[in-house]
């Protein structure tokens, strides 16, 4: 009601800060652990990048592989997902709704089940089983619904049907409409979906752990390895590398969703 802060405000602020602390403090601790000479002694032992260096020597390959798979996953979801999203946004029939439900299943069901199913079905195919493509398949199944949903949402918001009808009335063929009108206007959704897919792929563990082989390790798999078998400083340094990759993506996503919300102009309005 006024700018005078009530007691309730301070109590709630303290509580929120506590929750925040709970979430952030371990992150800070792990970053410090990864950068200090000796975790037992703490930061007093001096800051160093040697652990990060060791991590890089041991696990650089996992980082590259994760990035590679994430980009490949992005390519696949774009090619598979954007046309599918177009169809789902154009038609609202029982079938399309069922298909949307279907595509979400790999997300609704634990990654473990998806992974087990893949192993049991394709395990015999040695070249497939042992290649990074096997992991890629798992990632694509898991991230596709996010791309589809993001693009469908944007297409609905821009009233894609009407835009298409206008373009068709002016003589544009399907290809011209799709690449000249629909895709450019759906770009915010595609971008948001892309960021989501890359972030999810880089961080995917539940499926990847089951599907990986010693020669196809990704970053999260490497992380699990290092937590189990390496000293704390290495695990921490490795986690720092992970944060490094994730933070720009998260910032980009925040920025995009902030820009989107600004356009819609919806915020809780303070007293008139």
């Amino acid at each position: 009601m006024t700018t005078r802060r009530s007691k309730r405000f301070w109590i709630q602020l303290a509580f929120t800060l506590l929750v925040c602390g709970f979430l952030v403090v371990p992150v800070v601790l792990s970053v410090l652990a990864g950068l200090s000479e000796n975790f037992f002694v703490g930061v007093k032992s001096g800051l160093t990048l040697r652990w990060v260096g060791e991590v890089w020597a041991l696990y650089a390959e996992t980082v590259y592989r994760s990035i590679g798979i994430a980009l490949a996953c992005l390519a696949c979801t774009l090619v598979l997902g954007v046309p599918a999203a177009y169809v789902l946004a154009s038609r609202q029939t029982r079938w399309t709704r069922a298909i949307e439900e279907l595509l979400v299943l790999p997300v609704a069901v634990p990654g473990l089940a998806t992974a087990l199913a893949l192993i049991l079905f394709y395990g015999e195919l040695r070249w497939f089983r042992q290649s990074w493509l096997f992991i890629l398949v798992g990632h694509v199944l898991f991230t596709l619904p996010f791309m589809v949903r993001s693009v469908v949402a944007v297409m609905a918001a821009i009233d894609m049907k009407t835009l298409e009808e206008a373009a068709a009335s002016l003589g544009a063929s399907f290809r011209e409409r799709f690449f000249g009108v629909i895709l450019p206007n759906a770009r915010p959704g595609i971008l948001a979906g892309a960021l989501m897919v890359v972030t999810l792929s880089i961080g995917e563990f539940n499926i990847t752990w089951m599907l990986h082989t010693p020669l196809t390790k990704t970053l999260p798999v490497g992380l699990a390895d290092s937590y189990a078998s390496m000293r704390l400083e290495i695990g921490s340094a490795y986690t720092i590398v992970f944060f490094f990759m994730i933070i720009p993506l998260l910032v980009a996503m925040q920025y995009m969703s902030g820009a989107g919300a600004r356009d819609k102009g919806e915020r809780w309005k303070p007293a008139r």
Partner: protein, 275 residues
């Protein structure tokens, strides 16, 4: 008429790649999984093993109890913090929000590591308790640690949902209640919570489903307690008990799918990722 037929054909072609990939790599394999589930020595009863077998039953119960507990705690914590953040402006709020939602991208393994940082053998809580109580409290590798980990990845998700829903609440309703004399607590009880109920139930169902299916966190914490995903994993990798693993994972899949379907019917929209 030709137009509609042409459209249908075009749409079919556009949808085909995604459906083909989905069928080849998910639908068929999962059907095979279901078949493997009842092809083992126990036959169809493998699907009921989760109830009939004591060990598996305990595993299921632990998982359900843990998930319910995490859901309840998360709803309360996120409700209070989320409402507070929606209603108040103060310097640094954006930073606070960023910090609260940052853990959204962490895989379960990293969450497990965070729990170790807090409550492991060299954890912060251990340090503090040693300083204050002369006793090192270490709980990362127990049910409490798992609970903490699940709380860690659930809170950011639910806070965002609560905030989104709270922003849509009609402030006139609260003002009306206040004009009739309701105290702040009454306003929360009579207006805000009923108004947020669909979002809370939906977020709660998602939280429950995610906790039920979570694997990475438990794996990192190498807990002595068995949650169902770990049980399934052990059956598959250590004991090569394919049919049991298959049956259990199908059962688990059905449970999480049902919870998420409930969430969707109440919220009408967004379902977020498992951890």
């Amino acid at each position: 008429m030709a137009r509609a037929a042409r459209d249908a054909r075009l749409h079919a072609w556009l949808l085909a790649p995604a459906l083909a990939v989905f069928t080849a790599f998910w639908l068929l394999p999962l059907t095979r999984l279901a078949v493997v589930g009842w092809s083992g020595p126990q036959g169809l009863s493998a699907y009921f093993a989760v109830v009939t077998n004591a060990q598996y039953f305990r595993s299921l119960v632990s998982t359900v109890v843990l998930s319910l507990g995490v859901t309840a705690a998360t709803l309360v914590v996120s409700g209070v913090a989320g409402l507070f953040l929606t209603r108040n402006e103060f310097p640094g709020k954006k930073v606070l929000l960023a910090m609260l939602t940052f853990p959204l991208a962490f895989p379960g393994v990293v969450v497990g590591f965070m729990v170790i940082m807090l409550a492991g053998r060299q954890g912060l809580i251990g340090d503090v308790s040693e300083w204050v109580l002369d006793e090192r409290i270490v709980f990362a590798y127990s049910m409490a640690g798992l609970f903490t980990g699940y709380l860690y990845f659930s809170i950011p998700r639910v806070i965002l949902t609560v905030m989104a829903a709270a922003e849509k609440l009609d402030s006139a309703l609260e003002e009306a209640a206040r004009s009739l004399g309701a105290s702040p607590w009454r306003v929360v009880r009579d207006v805000i919570i009923p108004g947020l109920m669909p979002a809370l139930v939906s977020a709660g169902a998602i939280c429950f489903a995610t906790s039920m299916g979570a694997f990475g966190t438990a794996f990192t914490l190498a807990t002595k307690i068995n949650v169902l995903p770990i049980t399934i994993y052990t059956e598959f990798t250590n004991y090569a008990n394919f049919s049991i693993a298959a049956a259990l994972s199908i059962v688990l899949g059905v449970i999480t799918w049902a919870a998420l379907a409930l969430a969707r019917s109440l919220a009408g929209g967004t379902v977020s990722a498992a951890a």
